[in-house]
Amino acid sequence: MPNTLYDKIWNDHLVDQQADGTALLFVDRHLVHEVTSPQAFEGLRNSNRKVRHPNLTLAVADHNVPTTDRSKGISDKESKIQVETLEANCKEFGIKLFGMNDKRQGIVHVTGPEQGFTQPGTVIVCGDSHTATHGAFGSLAFGIGTSEVEHVLATQTLVQKKAKNFRVNVNGKLPLGVTSKDVILQIIGKIGTAGGTGCVIEYAGDLIRSLSVEQRMTICNMTIEGGARAGLIAPDEKIFEYLKGRPMSPKGKDWDKALEYWKNLRTDENAKFDKEINLKADEILPMITWGTSPQDVITIDEKVPNPQNEKDEDRKNSLERSLNYMGLKPNMAAKDIKIDKVFIGSCTNGRIEDLREAAKILKDKKIASHVQAMVVPGSGLVKEQAEQEGLDKIFVNSGFEWREPGCSMCLAMNADKLKPQERCASTSNRNFEGRQGRGGRTHLVSPGMAAAAAISGNLDDVRKYQS
């Protein structure tokens, strides 16, 4: 029977399967960070259990770390305890950790691929919903809760039931100024935030194949915003090229053997999908979110919706609630939305190509005087690379702040946050109420669109600034 890529990875990791379909799945790679792991390590200690495979586990502190000068450590007491707890746990259980002052430190989903820890055909988990990012390499990668983190640490396996197969085909070419961020926002707008619930999404089509590795990561990253736990893309030459020579990539004979295996990782022709949708890349435009759910998308040329036009009562109430929270009026043009802050960074758009894309727009320009803007590179290595290319100077000269790597204002667990009613154009992944700070208002956009908003002082069309 023909199989999907997801079917193949699943079958290849089955340790055991009960009659009711409940399976025990082997986990090849486990990423750990400070927020969702302390209770898991505590659980291990209480039951006198060990970490089964410390060398299949990699830890990095990212959610709580300050993005300003780190020489004095973390000033927030609770954040400090959490980061120190991770350090102590990694030491006790023999897990490799990139500390706060290691240049390999970064957002866990940027660090994993960068180090070659992320590999095709593997099962990768992390106590973080954006683990889907790693699916860009043709791995089955998904977020888990803390109890599951403890389960993986202790057994290197996870109890799972098989999800459904969902394929999203994107064909054609993207118009100028349109990026993979716009593609995924468009997909979420189309399927809704629960559209992928219970499914694993495979992204396919010639547009997807034409994307760079990093652009693919942006798409897989936000799969969870469409309700699916995992999103993946069949690996190809671009992926193999990216991984070759990375510190944790296979070497020598192992590389040859791995490559042979990786090259066969693809969905069989005629494999059955439970759900399938098609998108035309040529019709996708620069997108923004106007509301408090990632499905609340419009193009930059459109207007904010009017709840009065909604027949469904639940939908109408939810629109009204969102507009009210966002401080927007029905039918307002997207370009009339004035912003206070700009955030470029996160596991969605904090990699080198994202910074290049924003810098290209900002070169020789100044940001609007009322706007406060910051760039938070996804890792120390991204930061270093950007500095070698002189991108930091472009950002600073335009009026942006150039920060240290971490999750930062994507979820505002550290000192970087919005004040009540402050409005932000953000390259992150969630526009939920209070996500970037209590009462803060988030508009999700691509890095180029964030740069355009910074210059104009309102949400604006990136194509205007493209030469």
Binding site: V15, D16, D20, T22, L24, F26, D28, V35, T36, P38, Q39, E42, S47, R49, N55, L56, H63, N64, D76, E78, I81, Q82, T85, D128, S129, G143, I144, G145, T146, S147, E148, E150, H151, A154, T155, V159, A163, T193, A194, T197, I224, G227, A228, P250, D254, W255, K257, A258, Y261, S293, D314, S318, L411, P420, R430, F432, E433, G434, R435, R438
Partner: protein, 201 residues
């Protein structure tokens, strides 16, 4: 894990769709290294004003809903972040059953690891049950029989048999999986032969 068997309570009704885990427990409370003590911060932003005072309009601040053990909510409950702090906060508040027409996957599975029963029902049935919240009348849950009993009516709900067993008996997932140690070892041996690069050594 605390066992779940039967439950009787006046349900609290929160008719909001897409309640995300940031709403259930905002990030400032994720800095804890413990599982307990999060109940007072459950639905923090909706529950307290800027001065930290309880907002009287919010359902869980009202008597008798401040003692509800059952929460009925809009569709796609628990979407967003994987934080298990969300079910921990519900549990610490005293809620051990959430009823919605759909749940986000990670939240749904996190519930079962913490003795919380998430029940999926059709919208129509949700509306019917919400009337009991409005009238402040009790409803009962019987997990053993997969039943919700309200007034003279009953609704059957579906739950995965294995998950149900774990809830009823309060089973420890890890201990169950470790009973399969031999299978895990065999898998690993095979893996070392077939994909030597996986082990990094």
């Amino acid at each position: 894990m605390q066992k779940f068997n039967t439950l009787k309570s006046i349900p609290a009704y929160l008719p909001i769709v897409n309640i995300d885990t940031d709403m259930i427990i905002p990030k400032q409370f994720l800095k804890t290294i413990k599982r307990t003590g999060l109940g007072k911060n459950l639905f923090f932003e909706m529950r307290y004003d800027d001065q930290g005072k309880e907002i009287s309009d919010f359902v869980l601040n009202q008597n008798p809903f401040n003692n509800s053990k059952i929460l009925i909510a809009g569709k796609n409950f628990g979407c967003g972040s994987s934080r298990e702090h969300a079910p921990w906060a519900l549990l610490d508040f005293g809620i051990t059953c959430v009823i919605s027409s759909s749940f986000a996957d990670i939240f749904y599975s996190n519930c079962f690891k913490n003795g919380i029963l998430p029940i999926i029902l059709e919208e129509e049935k949700i509306k019917e049950l919400s009337e009991y919240a409005n009238r402040k009348e009790e409803i009962s849950i019987d997990l053993n029989q997969n039943k919700i009993i309200y007034g003279n009516n009953e609704i059957n709900f579906q739950v995965d048999e294995f998950k149900k067993k774990c809830l009823l008996e309060g089973l420890d997932d890890i201990a169950l999986s470790l009973e399969k140690s031999e299978k895990i070892e065999n898998f690993e041996k095979d893996l070392k032969n077939k994909k030597p690069w996986i082990f990094n050594d």
